[in-house]
């Protein structure tokens, strides 16, 4: 503008000068020209003055802008608000500086809010470099979990501290879902669940922004405990079901085993009552009734014994019992039953001399009787039952071996269960209530002894009872 004014002034002056040369004698022209020159000189001076003022103002504004830029840089570096201390130097741009100051404080508030959220979060927050997974920032929870200072963590690769089960590379390529991993802290291994924040780059590549890690050690332990308990409960339920089945099976067997002697008793007594038998036949019927009465008594006593042995052991008096004589007597008593089933009893390994144990005579008879009856009952036709009794240090060992059907491995674990009864293949009927071995085990427990079973299907079974010897 100033240049245009100057050019116009010079040009109009030059035109006036040309006009004056054509008529230099004209007084009016001369006066006009003189005044014109004065006025143009004044205008030129005013224009030059204004130009100088503008240059000075421009320099001043430049200085103020430099001050503001410097202040903004300081703020960006997190130095405390330099703008608030320099309002004097910013008379012209003061309002703008104030606006920047307000904006700065607002941003600081937001920053503080997120900082507090970041640092006080119980979950572990990591800000990661987009490539290379180096840690840019980490919150207090993460540093505390590692037992390290923040400075020791920043700039380090995340995989140095956090091991993800599927690895960082795969976790970064998949993202989104929760990934399990672990951190090794001063207090031991911490199990974590990580979620990785990913951002797609313009080139289609996935950049990692950060990761949130949650300590799931306690939850994991609880989960495992719950799982164990759940498994145990399932097992218990199965056992209950199995016991229920055994109970049903037992009740059916009980019904059968108690009814069978009763059928004979009732039938023969009915014949006797109706006078359909007399003399020798009548006597024979009475014998049958008596025998069946004995069977009933035995079954009922076995049931009662099992209940008593399970709950009150103190009522049985203990005394020295010659087991050698007891076993021989019981074996001889069962010779007839064995012969009926064509089973041979081998007593050659029974000692002639006394072999004493501290025990209850009646219960030991029951023990030997049950083992022998089972060995005969589950034997093959023309099979053998071998009895052996020997002293082994402070103990007396009784072995009852049969050459019968044997017991498979699965059933071996349950044969001492109450009401279990071996189910021989293809056999629909078995005598007894299935409490024999359970009773044997209770009697062995009563004598603080031990019972062991060895068996091979098709080859036979051996029961070994160990009892404490006495003088």
């Amino acid at each position: 503008m100033a240049v245009v004014c100057l050019a116009w002034s010079l040009l109009s002056g030059y035109l006036d000068l040309l006009a004056w040369r054509r008529s230099p004698q004209d007084e009016a022209w001369r006066q006009w020209f003189a005044w014109s020159l004065i006025l143009r000189g004044l205008g030129l001076a005013a224009v030059l003055g204004a130009l100088g003022g503008v240059i000075m103002l421009r320099r001043r504004l430049d200085r103020q802008i430099d001050t503001m830029v410097e202040a903004c840089h300081s703020m960006a570096l997190g130095e405390p608000s330099p703008l608030s201390d320099a309002p004097q130097g910013l008379q012209n741009l003061g309002r703008l500086a104030l606006a920047i100051q307000v904006m700065h404080e607002a941003l600081l508030d937001y920053l503080n809010l997120y900082r507090r959220f970041f640092d006080t979060a119980p979950d572990m927050f990591l800000s990661l470099a987009p490539a290379g997974q180096r840690i840019l920032d980490a919150n207090t929870s993460f540093c505390r979990a590692l037992g390290l200072l923040k400075d020791e963590v920043l700039g380090q690769p995340a995989e140095r501290f956090v091991q993800l089960d599927k690895g960082w590379d795969r976790a970064m390529s998949e993202g989104g879902e929760l990934i399990t991993g672990q951190i090794k802290g001063p207090g031991g291994t911490i199990k974590v669940e990580a979620s990785i924040s990913l951002e797609g780059s313009p080139g289609g590549q996935q950049w990692v922004l950060g990761a949130i890690l949650r300590d799931v050690t306690l939850r994991d332990a609880l989960y495992r405990e719950l799982l164990q308990k759940s498994t145990a409960l399932e097992k218990a339920l199965e056992e209950i079901k199995s016991v229920e089945e055994l109970k049903d099976q037992f009740l059916t067997t009980l019904s059968h085993e108690l009814k069978t002697p009763l059928v004979s008793l009732k039938g023969f007594l009915q014949l006797l009552r109706q006078g359909k038998a007399s003399g020798e036949q009548g006597q024979n019927y009475l014998e049958i009734c008596w025998r069946n009465l004995g069977k009933l008594e035995t079954q009922i006593n076995n049931l009662l014994d099992l209940a008593r042995l399970s709950h009150s052991k103190e009522q049985y008096s203990m005394e020295p019992v010659d087991l050698s004589g007891l076993v021989r007597t019981e074996a001889e008593n069962l010779q007839a039953a064995a012969a009926e089933r064509k089973v041979r009893l081998d007593l050659s390994k029974l000692p002639r001399q006394e072999m004493r144990v501290m025990g209850n005579h009646g219960k030991l008879v029951q023990l030997v009787d049950n083992l022998l009856v089972n060995a005969i009952k589950y034997n093959k036709e023309s099979g053998e039952v071998s009895l052996e009794l020997r002293r082994e240090g402070p103990r007396v060992v009784l072995r009852v071996a049969d050459s019968g059907v044997g017991i498979d491995r699965e059933r071996m674990a349950v044969i001492f269960n109450r009401f279990y009864q071996a189910n021989l293949s293809g056999t629909g009927r078995l005598e007894g209530l299935g409490i024999g071995l359970s009773l044997v085990q209770e009697i062995v427990k009563l004598h603080n002894g031990n019972i062991r079973v060895e068996s091979e299907p098709g080859m036979g079974t051996t029961f070994t009872v160990t009892l404490e010897a006495t003088a």
Binding site: T252, S255, H256, K259, T260, L262, G267, Q274, T427, G428
Partner: protein, 125 residues
């Protein structure tokens, strides 16, 4: 007129003796078998079919109901004699199972001699 022939399949010695004596007392001929196998063997070689079969459910080598099915199959399409199934089993499903196996009648052994004979005469008719 020949006496009715009864095939009695019962493994319990005393019960077999009881029913055998009762049937013989009524003038019937009784063939006693102690197991499923024994009954099957007798059936295949018997000079004539029995007029009535009495089966116990629990036998040492199998189930009386299975034997009932087998007797039907061994008859080569001919109707087999009536079958009375006896049991001291407490299972309430037993009458239905017996019918399914082709038995004519089921009787609980606890019914006694009179009930037994009633069933025998009913089935022989």
């Amino acid at each position: 007129m020949s006496h009715p022939l009864i095939l009695l399949v019962e493994d319990d010695t005393d019960i077999a003796a009881l029913y055998g004596d009762v049937l013989r007392g009524e003038g019937m001929d009784v063939v006693l078998c102690r197991s499923r196998r024994q009954a099957r063997d007798w059936w295949q070689t018997a000079p004539r079919q029995p007029d009535l079969v009495i089966l116990d459910v629990r036998l040492p080598d199998g189930n009386g109901l299975d034997l009932c099915c087998e007797l039907g199959e061994m008859g080569s399409g001919q109707p087999h004699p009536p079958v009375l199934v006896l049991s001291a089993h407490g299972d309430p499903r037993m009458p239905v199972l017996c019918k399914q196996a082709g038995a004519s009648e089921f009787m609980d052994k606890m019914e006694g001699i009179d009930g037994f004979l009633d069933n025998i005469y009913k089935l022989l008719q």
